[in-house]
Symmetry: C2
Subunit: 237 residues, 2 copies
DNA sequence: TCCCCAAAGTCGTCTGATGACTTTTGCATT
DNA sequence: AATGCAAAAGTCATCAGACGACTTTGGGGA
């Protein structure tokens, strides 16, 4: 086993066995090097790996801390890498999104409060009022995130958030057909919000699934290649 | 921006823009250090981060290669960290599993071939025939993985595989109540396989959802703490 | 033609030193 | 006594150089 693996599994073991708990500071590098029998280089690489996976968080000058180890923290670590996936795989992700967005919409319909319905409709109105595709995309994200939050499962909300971020890269709303798409999209949103407001899980789920399926069809039809990451488009926010 | 971040985002950018494609070998460390303006330490840490996330794969003596960038590769990177999550989060994951296992079972029912049905039932018979909880757990895993494979969405299969691996750590079959549970579990499996054999998506989905829900109830009831990772139990395989 | 080995290329590890940042400590001032 | 500030300690971040381990390549000999 290489030194990096030794350090990685050693640290993971300390966390798995509870010797290092969530939020706790791990021993300084020099101590860990001695205990794990590796030098600082490999140890730091192992810590970086755990950091990339959302398990620990180094703070310059202070120490390295174990994260809260919530599933949503770990899932969020997929964000930066999902953006690298080529298009074919994205379509597989859409199938999962369809199922899960429908599920959270149904759960949201069963759990929503009056204030939450209020929030959803005000987001829709903002969306319909703006002409800026960037702002529209950002509001779209917040609308779906709010429904996922109401659904009551933070892990699921985090997972869907990662999936949506990958989709948003393609910025379909900035295409020539954008306005038309947005009109259809707005109508879908109203259907979803209405289903939730009516406490009708079936209606909400159906509307959500149809909405995702529609987005998928658009993407399939145009398949615009993403030429740049971080390009100032609808990916903002 | 720190040197590690500079290197990490620099590399990610090279992949995102297509300068480095799937399967391709990235430039040697010394070249990258010069281009990115960092020394070897931080560069190696950045490469390790991408490696932990399933984006690149270093090969000693040969070079570092970009992975195939399939979603299932990236999702698999969650395997080692999901095992660290405390129990409360696990229950949120069960809700997702319930929805997705039902979905793949339905899709499997629609897509299955005669040979695949054969495989499922032979796995069930092996499962029913063995007394070894470890072997039973391994066969259980293969049974569910096979259904997910038949479902036709590798990304979804990979995601479910990660979720199941986390659950298997608890080894409910080794409890005193184990044999009883296994009997119920076997019956569930037959229901699922029958639904798939009959090309009845509704039946298959219902059986799958009930099966997952049952497992979740067992876990909720006993909540045995996991004291060791890699303990020789049902986690084998 | 085939086999073997030497050399080059590349990643892996160690060591030592220095810089940057945070937290703590202790002292001087109010 | 309370407060504020500066020094010091602790910790992570980075650089540089050297050597080891492994893989691949290519040439030389059988």
């Amino acid at each position: 086993m290489s030194a990096v693996e030794k350090a990685f599994h050693g640290l993971r073991h300390m966390i798995a066995t509870g010797r290092l708990g969530p939020g706790e500071r791990i021993p300084p590098e020099s101590d860990l090097c001695e205990e794990l029998g590796v030098s600082r280089g490999p140890l730091r690489e192992a810590v970086r790996m755990l950091s990339a996976l959302g398990v620990v968080e180094p703070r310059h000058g202070s120490g390295t801390y174990v994260s809260q180890l919530r599933p949503e923290d770990v899932i969020r670590s997929l964000l930066l890498t999902f953006e690298l996936l080529p298009l074919p795989g994205l379509l597989e992700i859409y199938e999962i999104r369809r199922v899960l967005e429908a599920h959270v919409a149904a759960k949201a319909a069963a759990r929503r409060s009056a204030e939450e319905v209020e929030t959803l409709f005000s987001l829709i109105e903002e969306m319909e009022a703006t002409d800026d595709p960037t702002k529209a995309s950002e509001l779209d994200h917040r609308f779906h995130a709010e429904i996922a939050r109401i659904g009551g499962n933070p892990t699921l909300a985090s997972l869907l958030s990662v999936f949506r971020a990958r989709s948003r890269q393609y910025q379909v709303f900035t295409l020539p057909e954008g306005p038309e798409m947005r009109q259809k999209s707005d109508a879908d949103h109203r259907l979803m919000a209405t289903g939730i407001a009516d406490r009708d899980p079936g209606a909400a789920a159906g509307a959500a699934e149809a909405h995702v399926a529609q987005t998928e069809r658009w993407l399939r039809a145009f398949m615009p290649p993403v030429e740049e990451e971080g390009v100032p488009g609808t990916a903002a926010g």
